[in-house]
Symmetry: C2
Subunit: 281 residues, 2 copies
């Protein structure tokens, strides 16, 4: 159901000596493909570039990346009108041991995946969430980056097993809310919108950035700051975002419930007008 | 120069959908092979088991693992008298996304690598080290485990590039000394031996455990506690250990130097008598 490309060729395997396999030494992006085009492409490329700087990998050529992706979309066994592309940048093959030279050219792998639209009722009525017990380590040197070191998200996601819960929020060790396993989170109180600071840990999503920038252009400030667990549970509205589904209201997190989402609706309208068509429902 | 085995067959590639490649979702061990036998085998298996528990992977069958390793040692293109085996346990192939079932059977990959003995002068005169700027994230849910999420060690190791420095020590964000990029560290003050607590981050090495247990059996206590950067720099002796080289005195760390290692020598003697033959020099 998926198809991977490397150097323009379809592949299904990688060298076992690839540092992504050995150490998670690399980065990735999951890009929404809509009507054959990668959405928020510039933001994805910029995040890859920041990640490469952090990991001391050579920055990819954004134009070449785009050409490869367009080719993969044409050749992949997916619906180009609505699918997901995954871009993996690895530090490549090396001898055993943590050492590698730097800057290192990244090896680029492109994967195309089918993706079903999120159920319409989730946009209308919101999704159920929970607080995970898995805590994110604090002061990570790669905070904000989408590296291939994702065991924390895997562990958090495992907590949702055998539930119908859509998303789990991870806290740091000091019980600050950081993000969902596959989304970023926003809290609304007294009509003020805030989203957690991701300086210590977490992944800074492209839809989070697009939401913040879309709102700022309309004169609506989004505070980026620490949000403790209690504040989240007591706020007026909660919503989550990611590159694939756009924005979804949250109707429940553990014991807390939210039945009305006026501010979230206005954010969704703003996003719908700025290219995120799923939010127009 | 290396050879990998999976399911009894020589391989050089893995599925790109393997979760080790996608998320670093797995564990590894690097085992010293001496005279055809894996050294500290029981400790390696126990650490894998603890890691599997944390990652919610099914524990490997230690006997089957050993049979596979023995076969690989016989068939690998290495010197069985002195080489290194790498065991990778991955969460296996899955669809895209962090979700997987748990417990999951781990996929086992065995690699055999040539390894040269560390230069004799390092055992006699000690090795040069430095403090890395890369900090380890604190309160990691997998603290102590040797997971495949190792970007921090890669970044720390990159700091040693273009130097002749043997090892770099990583601190946590609060400037506690945690471990070397590929070793654990011990500090000696007033004849008392201490090694950092690894409750918040770091990897608990098998040679660290063997050192602590060997000394305790001889009535020598090793304190496992927080050690700040200043304490390390001002202590009487420093030594490092790992599964491959055993124990090495440290003669320099940044500006600090140590020219005499009487306690380290006695620890090396104790280890040499307890199976770590490299320490008998």
């Amino acid at each position: 159901m998926s198809r991977w490309f490397h150097g323009g060729n379809a592949i299904s395997e990688v060298s076992i000596d690839d540092r992504a396999f050995q150490y998670g030494d690399g980065l990735f992006e999951t890009v929404a493909i809509r009507q054959g085009q990668p959405r928020l492409w510039g933001y994805h490329v910029e995040r890859l570039e920041r990640g490469c700087e952090k990991l001391r990998l050579l920055k990819p050529d954004g134009d070449a990346l785009r050409i490869g992706l367009d080719k993969a979309i044409r050749e992949g066994d997916v619906n180009p009108a609505h699918c997901a592309a995954k871009i993996v940048l690895s530090a490549g093959v090396s001898d055993r041991g943590y050492s590698r030279s730097a800057p290192t050219s990244a090896a680029v792998f492109l994967g195309l995946f089918p993706s079903l639209p999120v159920a319409s009722e989730h946009y209308h009525h919101g999704v159920d969430t929970m607080l995970c017990d898995t805590r994110l380590a604090m002061y990570s040197p790669t905070a904000g980056c989408k590296t291939l070191n994702r065991i924390e998200q895997v562990l958090a996601r495992l907590e949702l097993q055998s539930t119908n819960i859509f998303e789990g929020f991870t806290l740091d060790a000091e019980r600050r809310v950081i993000c969902g396993t596959m989304s970023n989170v926003f809290a609304v109180s007294d009509n003020c919108i805030a989203t957690p600071s991701l300086d210590r840990c977490g992944v800074a999503g492209v839809m989070r950035r697009h939401t913040i920038e879309t709102l700022r252009k309309r004169g609506v400030a989004v505070a980026i700051r620490d949000i403790c667990e209690a504040e989240l549970m007591q706020c007026d509205e909660v919503f989550v975002c990611n590159s694939q589904f756009g924005i979804l209201p949250v109707r429940r997190c553990g014991e807390a419930t939210w039945h009305s989402h006026p501010v979230t609706r206005s954010v969704m309208s703003a996003l719908a007008e700025n290219g995120i068509l799923e939010c127009a429902q």
